[in-house]
């Protein structure tokens, strides 16, 4: 549309300019829709029609193909991929349920849902998942001490240690893991360190306490005191799944009873 508008402008005239402006405005006013997914290398409808409950692996493979390269955010493809994973897990629970759960976890749009699916995968096949929860990178004692000293120096107005730490990818990643707990987040720390000078940054007691807690979490290396733990991580409940409810988690019973795709709809 813009190309056409530009062509008119090229032939000149106020109407062309107006048309161009209208195109631009129309383009600006158009609702934001996800861009069309890149063209697939296969015929989706044909693949869906070919699905057979006697061959559950095909459901899983098609789901993986659709999920590959999916844009963020909800989309029809994402919904379809979820259904296909769920059907695979329900049709062959012994062999495919854990993989289906992991596939569904990859499609989850929030951490909690992701954790539930990974928990389901772990329940079905403990070897399939090393750890369900999002792990922080492990920290060695020397690095923990170095970062702690950098924080202390920062509070005293010596920012060079922290600046160097943030310039190191591994250390930056470590500090990034505590972004939610640091006053102003890692970006504020970065700005303060880059500001230079020997002026002591303004860190009140609350901020100092938050930073000190992060130091303790690093120094305790996975065995923090509970006061530190509760302050930094909160007290989220464990995701506890029951084995008998995992199938319905993968796909509800109603959808699971319609594994065939005919004429654009799912049927029994």
């Amino acid at each position: 549309m813009i190309d056409r508008g530009m062509a008119r402008v090229g032939r000149g005239g106020l109407p062309s300019v107006i048309a161009l402006a209208a195109c631009l405005l129309a383009g600006a006013a158009a609702p934001m829709v996800p861009a069309d997914p890149p063209p697939r290398g296969f015929d989706l409808q044909a693949r869906l029609e070919d699905l057979d409950p006697a061959r559950p692996i095909e459901y899983l493979e098609l789901a993986e193909e659709i999920a590959e390269g999916l844009a963020t955010g909800e989309s029809a493809d994402r919904v379809l991929a979820r259904r296909l994973y769920g059907l695979a897990g329900r049709l062959d629970p012994d062999r495919l349920a854990a993989s289906a759960a992991l596939g569904l976890a990859s499609l989850a749009t929030d951490a909690r849902t992701k954790e539930r699916y990974r928990a389901a995968a772990s329940l079905l096949d403990p070897e399939s998942v090393r750890s369900v929860t999002a792990d922080r990178p492990e920290v060695d004692a020397e690095t923990a001490l170095e970062i702690g000293e950098a924080f202390g120096d920062f509070r005293s107005g010596r920012t060079i240690g922290l600046r160097r730490a943030l310039q190191d990818p591994a250390r930056e990643r470590l500090i990034q893991g505590w972004d939610h707990a640091l006053p102003g987040g890692i970006e504020w720390l970065r700005r303060q360190t880059e500001a230079g000078g020997r002026q002591r940054p303004v860190v009140d007691r609350t901020d100092a306490l938050a930073m000190i807690r992060v130091e303790l979490a690093l120094l305790d290396r996975g065995r923090p005191q509970w006061s530190t733990l509760l302050a930094l991580e909160g007290d989220p409940p464990i995701v506890d799944l029951r084995v008998d409810r995992v199938p319905s988690l993968l796909l509800d019973d109603a959808a699971a009873s319609r594994p065939r795709h005919r004429g654009g709809a799912w049927v029994e």
């Binding site: 772990s122 090393r130 750890s131 792990d135 120096d153 005293s156 306490l209 000190i212 733990l229 464990i238």
Partner: protein, 1013 residues
Amino acid sequence: MSFGSDPARDAAVAALLGCTRAAGPRAILGLGDGPIDRDTLDAALATRRRQVESNAATRGLAEAAIAELEAAAAALRPSASEGRSRTIPRPPSSPVPPVRPVHPKVSAPPPPGPIAGRSRTPVRPTPRITAAHLTPFDRLVLSILVSGGGWNARTRVLVAGLAHQAGLDAATLRRVVSGLASFMRQQGVAGTFGEVARAEHRPAPPPPAPGRLESTVLRMAEGVGREFRGDSRSSFYRLVTLFGLVAVFFGVVLVTVLTAPSPVVRDTNLRRQEAEELLTRRLEEEKTAAVDPTHSVTPSTRPGVVRPATFERPPMFRGDAVPETVVFDLGRLPAAVDDLATLARRLELDVDRLPEAARVQWEDAIGLFARTWPRMPSDQRSQVLASILGVLRVAETPEVADRLLAALAVDPEAPIREELDPWRRAFRSGVLGEIVVEQSLPESVREIARRWVAERLPGSDGRHASGGPFAALGGRALDLMGGTLVEQAGVLGIGDFEDAWERWFEAQAALRRSDEVQRALVATLGRVLAVNRGLGNPGPSTDLLGRLVREIDWTAAGPDPESLRDAYQAWMRDSSIDGQALWVLGSVLDGPAGIGWFRPEFVLDPQATPGVRLRVLADVLDAWPESRTPVARGELLPVEGVLLDQLDRLIPEMAAVIRDAGTSRELLEALLGAERLALATTLLAADRTREAEAVIGQVISQVDSQETGVDIPDPRSPVVRGNDGEFAQSLKEAGRDADARIAIIDSLLADALAGDLGPRDAEALVQEAWRGSPAAVRDVARSVVLDAFSNGPNVAIEMLNTVGRAARSEDTAVFIEQYTDAILPSRRDDDWDAAVRRALARHAVSLLDADAIGIDRLANAVGETVLARARAREGEVAAGTAFGAGRPDPSSSAAAAADAARRVATGLFLAPGGDRSLEDLDRRRLARRRLASDPIRRLVAEHVAELEYLEFILEARVPVRRVELRSAMEDAADDRAEADSGLRQAASTVLRMVELERLRMIVRDTDPLGGMG
């Protein structure tokens, strides 16, 4: 007055003497108008002479004045009377104190007497006190003062008493004492003591005459005193005898108190005594009663009551103890297990061949195990089974399998030949059961075992039975042997018969739970009744019946009373069971060794018709005591009623506390309460009632007062010293002057209220504490930090921020340890720097966050409580567990508790009809662990695992509670799904453990006779 031709000198002399010549010699010498003696005259002369010598301005003036004095003395000497001849000691040439006028006054004439008598030689008052002035009273007072150490409270009382006796008032006494003090100063020690020696002895006042009672008491006291002093040998012996009798008396009292039975025991003994007397009376009556010669077979029937079968002695037997060879053989077990391991390794190398020597070795080992297994501890039994299966595992060829299994061939129903046959056959049958279900064994082995089991031990393979395949098939073999042994009554030698049965009873007890044993005994009793081999006549059958009746628990609290009642019904209704057998049974039940509730009219007439049987049966069932426990009691836990009531109250209250908890600290407190309650129920299960009671008391206190009992210091808000920066500026201005710096730092202590410094001052002080120079400045700074600012948050933050500047020295380490109350590792330790930083950071957090200490201490208390529960539960299994030293982390403690529960579950077997296995629970536990990324959620995961193991255990032990147990587990899962926090999940899970344990608790029956009364 004129002393010479020189008027000026005369005037000076007059002034020195205090008077002129015209005043007269008495005035010149300072004497009054009364009569004087020579001593007085000489004393006055000496006194005046000293005065002149000390006061005269010139020597010549003094000589002139002395000349006048001597002239005056000479003038008076002729008229002076003779005094006592004594030498007046010349006073030392010490400075004469100024003359003080003395004006003694006496308010009343003193009474005559040695104390306050008149002075024999009245003395004219003079400016000085001399010895001549002292009266006997004075000397007495003086002696009191000297001996009493001067004027003090004691001498004051004594002197006041004397003064009162002498009629002197306080003012007079004061003057006397003052004068004496002056005298003492003047005369010195020698003079004072000299006068004290002249004090007249004052006789002691006579004691008042004692009254009659008083005199008697005094005499007695005197006599007792003499005795206790042991003045004489006889009094000594009397004392020894007296104390010996006292010791014996108290010893008798102590022994009596310690050995006296408690009221409950006394009551029980009394009742037992009465029962025994009743029994004896009944026996006597039976002995003396007329004997119907035909009653042993066909009793005389009286209306309503059938005469029971009587025997010379109650039907009963006991076999001999286990042969000593069994004890000896037990010691050979470890070697036999090792031999089988070696055999297995050899077979692996040559699977096609079983040498004869190996076969013999194998058979010997099987034989050894078979004749000792009931006496093995449980872990050794597991090792034995494992060693057997280890050998069979490599028997891949049918020939080898066949030869090995030949040692396990068993025919449970074959006649018993030897007393240990019940053990041998039960063992072999049990091993066959294990072989059938063990999937790791070669099919060649399992197929043979499967065939034998099907032929000789038909029934389920026991994989889901309580006790597993070994218990199931071993018990089945015993049941079959029981039938065989019943048939062998009178066939087998009596000794062998009784010993074989004894072994049979022992094998049953080793293999089965109490309710299963009961069922086996009841079934055997039914067999005895059915076979009826000479019942009613004295003999092995009747003795066996008597023994079985005694072994079976007929009370309402016995295991599986419903099954017993059903069996009795079946016997009474079974027409194939002869009436005579039932008559003997009834007679034994009613007999001296029978059960209390079975009445004489329940003894069945051997000739009774079916209708009569049913009528008697109905009467028996009416009297049958109600079962106190549900069907298939399993292992219910009797607990004192008071404790059960407390539990029933605390469970819902604790649930409310968990539900209402809001903050993290409240949730931790709720969790601690739940953990304590779970500890209490675990202690009750371990029969540690008193400890459980104490823990329940803690929970009650917590619920009622909201106080956990955990020591949590109150939050502190130290005052920040004002004028931040002033101290820092002063320090800066002091420059390098160490003394000034020290003074400035010290001045911080002046403000006693300040507990913290502002940021700038904190920075300055901490800088000195770390790097102050010289060392004295640093030491002072550190002292001030410790003494005044150890709880100051700003100082703490600064300490942490700048600790890197501190020297890595012993002093610094000590300072940090004192400041933080933490224990640091050695300075050579690689972790030292991190440990220092950690300690300072924790200290800072504790000051910045008022809740931090409380939360950490509550978490520690939770960890300790969970660990205590793990240890209590560990007491249920033989194997011990080494728990780590140091403060337990809650999640680690929870893992230990779950492990302990799992070990208990491993010792059990699947409950009948169970649809889960331990492997399933382990898999779920592993999955939950992966869900837990932090200690709190790990705690939840382990608690859920422990809950599931506990439910598994309880289903096996109390199968009748299965429905309630499953329902509680469903509720627990719902709780976890709905919980909004990990701590709440943990607390609710722990509370469900308490509910599960509660399900198997019943009120303890306090009647010592149980249901037999």
